[in-house]
């Protein structure tokens, strides 16, 4: 008995199992986080059925079933419903006590409206109006057909309005440019000097001429616009909420509407795909809580590209120096220590450095030298995509150095010595032997740097990221790439929508989807890097002489 016990102790079964437990918990944590994000991120786009509940006191609510829980105080089961209709109720969600609910139903003709403003609307369609006149369904037509038809018409009208407005802006552009120059002159106080005054008068004359030239066109467009806008305003749906209140919704403010309770799995899937596409390809709506995240994806990609342009050459040079040029000794030890430490410096410290050095010191000097006419409004002296990229380049530098070194170390010594023995210079050897063979390592470094850069937020939020950028940093106007512009970023989008938005509960699904997108990007990049690295190892295992 005693010996058996001591044997067990010696064998340490308990410790072995404990270490297994440690691993299982760690893996369970990873699985947990991935599953939550997958479920919540992907579930959001699925069109939820619209539930109508009638309470015992006669009230009635309609919306998507959101959550259920047990209230700890009263021990009553409660149901949370997303009732939408923010313009009617003033809130998006409601908790109902289950014992007060008299009946639940899923009415066939319940409609979900996605709107430009005030979030979703849940209700029934009573009638459709075009030009203030009710549209009656024709023979063999249902009200539903009519509504889809008038919505299409309203969307056409809206598009025409947009086109006309764009046309007007284009016609006005030369005049606007002249007026801008005049304002600049005025701001600079040039009117007080004789030459400045003359310049100003010339511009004034030019502006008057332009005005005369384009005003007939503008008037024509304005007349057209007026009719269209009036028609747009007079086209609406008469809808009814669950409790019988009727309301008018302008057709052009409806992004899309559907009858979720009637939809089968196939039509729901089609709807789902459409929503998914909207998410990655459209602009955000309603202070980022609806619509898509295209500008954030665009900003992330552009920032990461700029960062790569800066970090890869620098990192590769440093790695080559460490392995091919530096002599073993204090310097190389110091550089390695620097790389290690650079990797360990908190990202926010890079952010602080970026803000103080790039934005205020370098950017401020650039403004003084080249953009002094615009001061005190800063051009480069404020956060922008260039400064954010450079800050991240510094942050990801060690990643590139370490990965490139790994690649260089994997190049067999014999190959290098062979090249030198044949009379090549060191640079020729590096160019023809080391670099091509270290390419997978460099690529690994690049990918890991991109993945790190795409996920980093703290340094960006103080060097140029904004919640809503009015324009992309890359567009059709000269000089096409606007390095001074602020940009949107997926990671910051998560922080901003999840924590800074006024309606966090309604914004949550959007945040999960964005998080999922970011994780997919980052994880794919990492898997790719791991794949390349493993192949690199295999390749050189066989090529030793």
């Amino acid at each position: 008995m005693n010996s058996a016990k001591s044997y067990q102790k010696k064998k340490g079964t308990g410790y072995v199992f404990t270490s297994g437990l440690g691993l299982v918990i760690s893996l369970a944590m990873v699985a947990w986080i991935i599953i939550i994000i997958l479920v919540k991120g992907l579930g959001f786009f699925w069109p939820g059925d619209v539930l109508q509940v009638k309470l015992q006191n006669g009230d009635s609510y309609m919306g998507e079933l959101w959550d259920e829980h047990l209230d700890k105080e009263t021990l009553v089961e409660e149901t949370q419903i997303k009732i939408g209709n923010r313009d009617v109720y003033g809130r998006d969600f409601i908790w109902l006590k289950n014992n007060e609910i008299a009946s639940r139903s899923y009415p066939e003709n319940a409609v979900t409206f996605e709107r430009m403003e005030y979030g979703n609307f849940y209700g029934f369609i009573k009638a459709a109006y075009l030009d203030d006149k009710i549209v009656q369904p024709g023979d063999g037509e249902t009200l539903k057909d009519v509504v889809f038809d008038v919505h299409d018409q309203a969307m056409d009208t809206k598009e025409q309005i947009n086109d006309l407005q764009e046309e007007a802006t284009e016609i006005m552009a030369p005049l606007a440019e002249v007026q801008r120059e005049m304002t600049l002159l005025q701001l600079a106080g040039a009117e007080e000097t004789a030459t400045g005054k003359q310049q100003f008068d010339e511009l004034q004359k030019k502006a008057d001429e332009l005005d005369k030239e384009i005003s007939p066109q503008i008037e024509k467009i304005n007349a057209q616009l007026t009719t269209l806008v009036l028609r747009d305003r007079a086209s609406y749906l008469e809808v009814e909420t669950a409790d019988g209140t009727t309301k008018h919704i302008e057709l052009s403010s409806i992004v899309r509407f559907f009858y979720p309770n009637e939809m089968g799995a196939v039509s729901k899937s089609i709807h789902y795909a459409g929503k998914l596409w909207e998410f990655v390809a459209d602009n955000p709506r309603e202070s980022n809580t609806e619509g898509g995240v295209f500008p954030a994806i665009f900003g992330t990609v552009l920032m990461v590209l700029l960062m790569s342009i800066a970090v890869v050459p620098f990192g590769v040079l440093a790695a080559i120096y460490l392995n091919e040029y530096a002599k073993q000794g204090a310097i190389i030890r110091f550089i390695r220590l620097s790389v290690n430490n650079l990797a360990g410096v908190p990202s926010i410290v890079f952010g602080v450095f970026g803000l103080g050095f790039f934005v205020y010191a370098v950017g401020g000097s650039i403004d003084q030298l080249f953009f002094s006419s615009k001061l005190p409004e800063p051009t480069f002296g404020t956060g922008g995509i260039l400064w954010a990229s450079l800050t991240l380049a510094l942050l990801t530098l060690p990643v590139v150095v370490v990965a490139t070194e790994e690649g260089i170390l994997a190049v067999p010594r014999a190959n290098k010595e062979g090249a030198l023995a044949l009379g090549s210079t060191k640079w020729q050897m590096i160019r023809k032997i080391v670099l091509p063979n270290a390419m997978p390592g460099i690529l690994t470094g690049l990918i890991l740097a991109i993945s790190r850069g795409a996920g980093e937020v703290a340094p960006l939020m103080i060097t140029g990221v904004v919640k809503l950028a009015p324009t992309l940093a890359l567009d059709g106007s000269f000089p096409f790439l606007h390095l001074d512009r602020k940009f949107m970023h997926l990671g910051f989008h998560i922080y901003d929508v999840g924590f800074q938005s006024p309606n966090v509960e309604a914004a949550k699904p959007m945040v999960y989807s964005t998080a999922l997108l970011l994780i997919i990007i980052v994880v794919l990049l990492n898997l790719f890097a791991i794949y390349i690295r493993n192949n690199l190892r295999k390749k050189y295992k066989t090529s030793t002489f």
């Binding site: 010696k10 064998k11 079964t13 072995v16 199992f17 404990t18 270490s19 297994g20 437990l21 440690g22 691993l23 299982v24 918990i25 760690s26 893996l27 369970a28 939550i36 105080e73 050459p313 040079l317 440093a318 080559i320 120096y321 040029y325 220590l337 620097s338 290690n340 430490n341 650079l342 990797a343 360990g344 410096v345 908190p346 926010i348 410290v349 602080v352 450095f353 050095f357 510094l394 210079t425 640079w427 020729q428 790190r452 996920g455 937020v457 939020m461 103080i462 990671g491 998560i494 922080y495 999840g498 924590f499 998080a515 970011l518 994780i519 980052v522 994880v523 990492n526 898997l527 791991i530």
Partner: protein
């Protein structure tokens, strides 16, 4: 060969040139790494260094005493330091240009013939309005405007004097006319004006003009006070009056209700106060004593919920009696002037005397801060006017305020407080780094408690006990965990885990308590299984064994949490915590942060220590096994000691990551800068504080530099941790490398 290099010699020259250039460029790249990290360090130091700089002055103007025959009673300068004025006791106001020293304008207060000004007082910190009291009992209130005018040739200052009002104090059946001996005056932001003065009979009067109701009030305060008055001061918001007496008593009147003046407090000093003055913020009063002592007092809430004035800061004493105190309009700076003409500059919050200077050999008759507090002007008894540039960018930070306890206005005692911005310009900024440092280490501690055992056990299992095939798949999985962006973890912690923890707190507690229990029971059963059968299970059975235990524990915890909560904690654990232990439960608390930081820290510790354990030479463990040690004994006695360097390095790296992590702590805590070990409330970490506050901080201001300094602290800390980790890791590795 192409046409470019015609001869082999040319070709060689070209190749060699390329070689030389590439060597230069690559070497630059290598040194670039050192340059980057050193420049980050130097830049952070460069930005935070001005915090340590004290105040300094340099004289920009000294005008000799030839202009006026009469003593000067009041002086002031415009915000751009271009024009200054002097008011003498005959009511003549002269404006001079600072650069050219030329008289640019002269004006005259409406004094009668032979009427002399006995006293003068400014009434507002931001604009030049003042009252003079004369020897015929008149209070004449005037204002001066020094407005910048922009013309082609640049900026000129246009000086104007406006007469605001005159008022005659009654001469109550007296043979000699009423004298205004000493005066204080205030106009607050509503336009309400309050005057308080002592007449020739020694009586203290209070006159109020209420701008809102356009009503006037006059009080004789001598009824409440018995004794000779030495000095008195009105608060700038016209709500308080303090009066110091020759018997060392000080009286505090609440005059905010104009219809009912209230005596709120009375206390005794150790010396006679010859000068008192309210500082910016209207809380603290600077008191200068006849013995030369300087102190700051403000009301502190007593246990009986009454406000009592307490001496909070004491400054370096003068050698002579102090007769004047001047207050800055920008911060808690004030000047004390003694009867021998020595001037000292103090800062109330820090309790520091920053400067001492003696403008002349004669006593000072009038002094002032410039409107932006960037200059000090002094007129001495010989009517020499001096203007000093005051360089004092960060008076509110000293080592003591950054790292020590400070007694702030309105607080009951000395405390560590971080509160960088307030509602008004008069806000006293509280920049103690201790709550932030505490917050950072609180979060780190919870994270390390949670992650270190998990990660190291997992590393031991994967490298020593797991089947090789499994191990190859697990490593990349954990590496993926390392790649999860911290913003995603932070967002989940803030919006998913924290409400979940709040709702299922009891389940989590039960799980943590029951898991070891169930684990031991299961282990006991396992050991009863005969050896032969145990051997038949495949390698890695431990994992399959552990998973059901975890699931059973979870199910058990979830089904009995209500029961346990009812029996032990009266049905609501959070409420029980509050009512029994006075611990508040915040949704976003340190437990959640510790758990969430685990996602960031575990993969680092795991990967590095797994590498270290795997790299222990086969020969060591083989020898141990051959000598008959069990697998676990080999791990415990041979492998772990050999890998201890790597494991230590891993923990250090994890520590560095936890200390610097920003987004997780930003999103998963409430960011309240409190010092409290309670695991159920939040904290404010250094990193999160920088991220939140630096975008709003004015460039070059104190907050901006303090945040840079915080960044420097983080940098230095992680630098030390990283260097330690590589040094000690190396040394331990060498120690075992001989095997």
């Amino acid at each position: 060969m192409s046409t470019e290099h015609k001869t082999p010699k040319d070709f060689r020259r070209k190749v060699e040139r390329a070689d030389r250039w590439s060597r230069r460029v690559i070497t630059t790249g290598g040194y670039g790494i050192i340059i980057s990290i050193v420049s980050i360090l130097l830049f952070l130091i460069y930005q935070s260094l001005p915090l340590a700089k004290g105040a300094s002055i340099n004289e920009i103007l000294s005008m000799p005493a030839t202009r006026s025959e009469n003593p000067v009673v009041l002086t002031g300068v415009d915000p751009y330091l271009e024009v200054f004025y002097e008011l003498d006791n005959r009511g003549s106001i002269k404006f001079y240009n600072v650069d050219s020293k030329a008289l640019i304008k002269e004006d005259q207060l409406p004094l009668k013939a032979n009427e002399k000004i006995l006293t003068a007082a400014k009434g507002n910190l931001t604009k030049e309005i003042f009252t003079v009291g004369s020897d015929s009992g008149r209070l004449i209130t005037s204002s001066i405007e020094m407005k910048p005018e922009y013309t082609k040739s640049g900026r000129t200052i246009e000086a104007m004097v406006y007469q605001e009002e005159e008022w005659q104090a009654a001469t109550e059946n007296d043979t000699i006319p009423n004298h205004i001996e000493k005066l204080t005056f205030v106009e607050n932001s509503d336009g309400t004006r309050v005057w308080s003065w002592i007449d020739h009979t020694g009586k203290l009067w209070l006159r109020i003009y209420d701008a809102e109701d356009e009503e006037e009030y006059l009080y004789d305060l001598s009824e409440d006070i018995s004794g000779q008055i030495t000095s008195f001061s009105l608060s700038h918001n016209a709500e308080n009056l303090v009066v110091a007496l020759k018997d060392k008593n000080v009286y505090w009147f609440d005059i905010s209700d104009f219809e009912k003046i209230q005596l709120k407090d009375r206390w005794t000093l150790e010396t006679i106060a010859d000068a008192v003055n309210y500082l910016l913020g209207d809380q603290a009063v600077a008191i200068g004593g006849q013995d030369g002592s300087v102190s700051v007092w403000f009301p502190v809430r007593s246990p009986a919920n009454l406000f009592k004035f307490r001496k909070v800061h004491e400054f370096i004493s003068h050698n002579a009696a102090i007769d004047q105190i001047y207050v800055s309009s920008r911060n808690r700076n004030f000047l004390t002037v003694d009867t021998k003409g020595n001037v000292k500059l103090h800062y109330s919050t820090t309790g520091q005397t920053q400067l001492e200077f003696k403008p002349a050999d004669f006593p000072v008759t009038a002094a002032a801060f410039s409107p932006k507090s960037n200059a000090i002007l002094v007129v001495d008894g010989q009517k020499r006017f001096s203007l000093y540039n005051l360089e004092n960018p960060h008076p509110e930070t000293t080592l003591k305020t950054l790292f020590g306890k400070v007694w702030y206005e309105g607080y009951p005692k000395e405390e560590f407080v971080w509160q960088s911005t307030g509602g008004s310009d008069e806000f006293e900024s509280k920049l103690s780094l201790i709550p932030l440092i505490f917050g950072t280490f609180k979060g780190t501690l919870f994270a390390m408690f949670f992650s270190v055992p998990l990660a190291i056990f997992a590393a031991i299992y994967v490298s020593q006990f797991a089947p090789k095939r499994l191990a190859r798949q697990i490593k990349p999985t954990i590496e993926i965990m390392a790649a999860l962006p911290s913003v995603v973890i932070g967002f989940l912690a803030g919006l998913y885990f924290s409400p979940l923890f709040e709702e299922y707190l009891m389940v989590i507690f039960l799980f943590v308590i029951l898991l070891p229990l169930f684990f031991l029971i299961a282990l006991f059963i396992w050991q009863r299984i005969p050896e032969k059968m145990q051997a038949r299970f495949p390698l890695g059975i431990e994992i399959l064994f552990v998973i059901p235990i975890g699931i059973i524990t979870l199910v058990f915890a979830m089904s009995f949490d209500h029961v346990v909560e009812q029996i032990l904690f009266q049905g609501n654990f959070q409420q029980w915590l509050y009512s029994t232990l006075q611990i508040t439960y915040e949704t976003r608390n340190s437990l959640v942060v510790g758990f969430a930081l685990g996602f960031a820290v575990i993969p680092i510790i795991f990967t590095v220590s797994e590498d270290a354990i795997s790299n222990v030479p086969e020969s060591l463990s083989s020898a141990s096994l051959a000598l008959g040690a069990s697998k676990w004994q080999t791990v415990r006695r041979v492998v772990l000691p050999a890998a201890s360097g790597g494991i230590f390095a891993a923990i250090m790296l994890g520590l560095g990551r936890a200390v610097g992590e920003t987004m997780i702590v930003l999103m998963a805590t409430g960011n309240t800068p409190i010092i409290d070990l309670n695991p159920f409330n939040g904290f404010r970490a250094m990193s999160a504080c920088i991220a939140v506050e630096i975008p709003e901080a004015p460039v070059g201001g104190t907050l901006y530099r303090v945040l840079f300094f915080t960044g420097l602290l983080l940098f230095v800390f992680t630098f030390i941790v990283n260097t330690l980790s590589s040094l000690i890791g190396d040394r331990l590795r060498k120690k075992y490398a001989r095997f």
